[in-house]
């Protein structure tokens, strides 16, 4: 019985959630929603065992693509977001040719270099990328209404509903992929690539597939961000942001689907609610750095390992 009620209750809670918050907290909620998509898509890549430092830049590819398509071609915003995601996935496929000749550490550094090159290209070409100042005045999501509710996308609450809807669909797709034979193959590629290959798995194709899917959803995340804040520049997708994503994933743990989401939510609450309210905003990088180190040292399997311990103990009386 509880099983069937849990989803409607969660839905109602999510709908009600922004109404109990201040305006700035509502804005943070929108960013949190987008970041959940970014970190969850990052996890899909880590399933194959590769850690990229280009994920946030590829998210930026989606943001730039979507912003430019609406601005220059007048494409309807939700469609441009989807196209932004597809662009990010295509760029990932192109990048995979050089990058997947490397593994592990070399892949990490290679992805970092590839990301920096993309950022420098944005910076260098004022036309069409706007140079260091980036793109300003990005079209917002056009208003519309469903029945009784009027979506006014300058209101964070409306955008939260919109982004939340998109993100939930994306998470559902990511979840379906992970639970499918494709997801199992990703795991296989991670744990024993040689045995997987001997079983007929085309390693390169599956690594590329995971990279492209992860990048596509990151691109949608970037597009969601771009049309909300209205301005993006190469600095919006820098290494600091990448470190945040990395921190969320590592603090939460990448062993489960909910791990990175948990890390993202907990750290965002810690950051915004605790640090900002207490006036420690300046300490943010310091605290993130310390948390990153502490979790690597003392909680190598992330917050999810605490949850697992708790649920397992309850399961075994």
């Amino acid at each position: 019985m509880l099983k069937y009620l849990i989803w409607p209750i969660a839905a109602v809670a999510l709908i009600a959630l922004p109404h109990g918050l201040s305006f700035s907290q509502q804005e943070i909620l929108v960013f949190l929603t987008i970041n959940i998509l970014v970190v969850s898509s990052y996890r899909l890549l880590t399933l194959t065992g590769e850690w990229s430092l280009a994920h946030v830049v590829i998210m930026g590819v989606g943001a730039y693509a979507s912003a430019m398509m609406t601005k220059n071609l007048g494409i309807y915003v939700p469609i441009s977001m989807l196209l932004g995601g597809i662009t990010a996935a295509l760029i990932a496929v192109i990048l995979s040719f050089p990058l997947f000749r490397m593994k592990g550490f070399y892949f990490l550094i290679g992805s970092f270099a590839a990301g920096e090159i993309i950022r420098l290209l944005w910076k260098h070409f004022r036309d069409p990328f706007g140079g260091a100042k980036g793109i300003k005045g990005i079209d917002p999501m056009p208003d519309f209404s469903i029945g009784i509710y009027n979506f006014d996308f300058f209101e964070p609450v409306s955008y939260f509903y919109f982004a939340g809807f998109i993100v939930i669909i994306c998470l559902w797709i990511l979840w379906r992929i992970e639970r499918s034979p494709v997801g199992l193959t990703f795991h296989a590629v991670h744990w024993q690539d040689k045995l997987a290959e001997a079983s007929g798995v085309n390693l390169r194709a599956y690594r590329t597939l995971a990279f492209a899917i992860a990048s596509g959803f990151a691109g949608i995340g970037g597009a969601l961000l771009a049309h909300y804040i209205g301005t993006i520049n190469p600095g919006s997708f820098d290494l600091d942001y990448m470190v945040f994503v990395l921190t969320w994933a590592i603090v939460g743990g990448t062993g489960t689907f909910y791990g990175p989401i948990l890390g993202c939510v907990v750290l965002t609450i810690l950051n915004e609610v605790v640090l900002r309210e207490m006036g420690f905003e300046q300490l943010r990088p310091l605290i993130y750095g310390a948390i990153l180190i502490a979790s690597i040292l003392f909680l190598p399997n992330g917050l999810e390992s605490i949850v697992q311990k708790f649920t397992k103990r309850r399961a075994k009386p």
Binding site: Q192, K194, L209
Partner: protein, 255 residues
């Protein structure tokens, strides 16, 4: 009739070292074929070249007269030649069932779009059926939900073969399947291999355990220092002067 698997002038050099030197032999369909030789004879290197793990320096590996040398391992696998690895190479973090499901990758190729929408139910059921069949064949049904890394050594070996079996290969390449097994486990494994042969699978194995190989193989190829030494049935090999010489000069393996 075309030759099932034929190795022609297969050569592998590592730097200045010639690990395998112009090796020739062929494997008949439906047999268990042993590849033996003292340590460092180049057996495993040969094996790795057939399975696509190494690209030979020169020479050919002909499968039904198609040259498969230099293909990637998954391309070789898709032509029906599937290998196991030395030691217990498994997906240790996954369950036994999941391990075998990965073995069904080739007959039931996953499709990502069907998987998202849920249109791949038939394939998933087919793959699970195939996986259960493989587990049953190797006596692992009871352990389907265990973590592969937690299994006993013998079970891990069996699981390694079950993964291969699940893909229904024409030719199974077994790399030292008896290493580290007690006599009882060895006997069971030999039984399993005979049943595989009856099911129509050809087996090529590299092995140190002479007792097992003599009792099991239809035909044996012996190598020494990267070169072909002798070939024949177990009895011929046992009494072959060159083989005895090679083994007495090298290790003390011949019983």
């Amino acid at each position: 009739m075309t030759q099932f698997l034929k190795v022609e002038d297969l050569t592998m050099r590592f730097g200045g070292l010639v690990a395998v030197d112009a090796l020739n032999f062929s494997v008949d369909h439906g047999t268990i074929h042993g590849l033996i030789g003292p340590n460092g004879a180049g057996k495993t290197t040969t094996f790795n070249m057939i399975s696509g793990f190494y690209k030979p320096t020169s020479g050919k590996v002909l499968l039904h007269e198609e040259d498969i040398s230099g293909l990637k391992m998954h391309e070789v696998a898709r032509r029906g030649v599937v290998r196991t690895f030395q030691h217990s190479t498994l997906f240790a973090e996954l369950t036994v069932m999941e391990n075998v499901l990965i073995g069904t990758h080739m007959p039931f190729r996953p499709n990502i779009f069907a998987a998202i929408i849920g249109w791949d139910r038939e394939d998933r059921e087919g793959a699970e059926g195939r996986a259960r069949e493989a587990l049953k064949f190797f006596g692992l049904s009871e352990l389907a939900r265990e973590r592969a890394g937690d299994l006993s050594h013998g079970h891990q070996r069996a699981l390694g073969m079950a993964i291969v079996f699940a893909s229904h290969p024409d030719l199974m390449l077994l790399d030292e399947p008896f290493t580290g097994m007690n006599p009882e486990e060895t006997r069971q494994m030999m039984d399993l291999m005979r049943r595989l042969r009856e099911a129509g699978t050809t087996i090529l194995l590299v092995e140190h355990d002479m007792q097992a190989i003599m009792g099991l193989c239809d035909k044996i190829t012996c190598m020494s220092f990267g070169k072909f030494l002798a070939e024949g049935n177990p009895k011929e090999i046992r009494n072959h002067p060159a083989v005895i010489e090679a083994y007495l000069g090298g290790a003390r393996h011949v019983a």
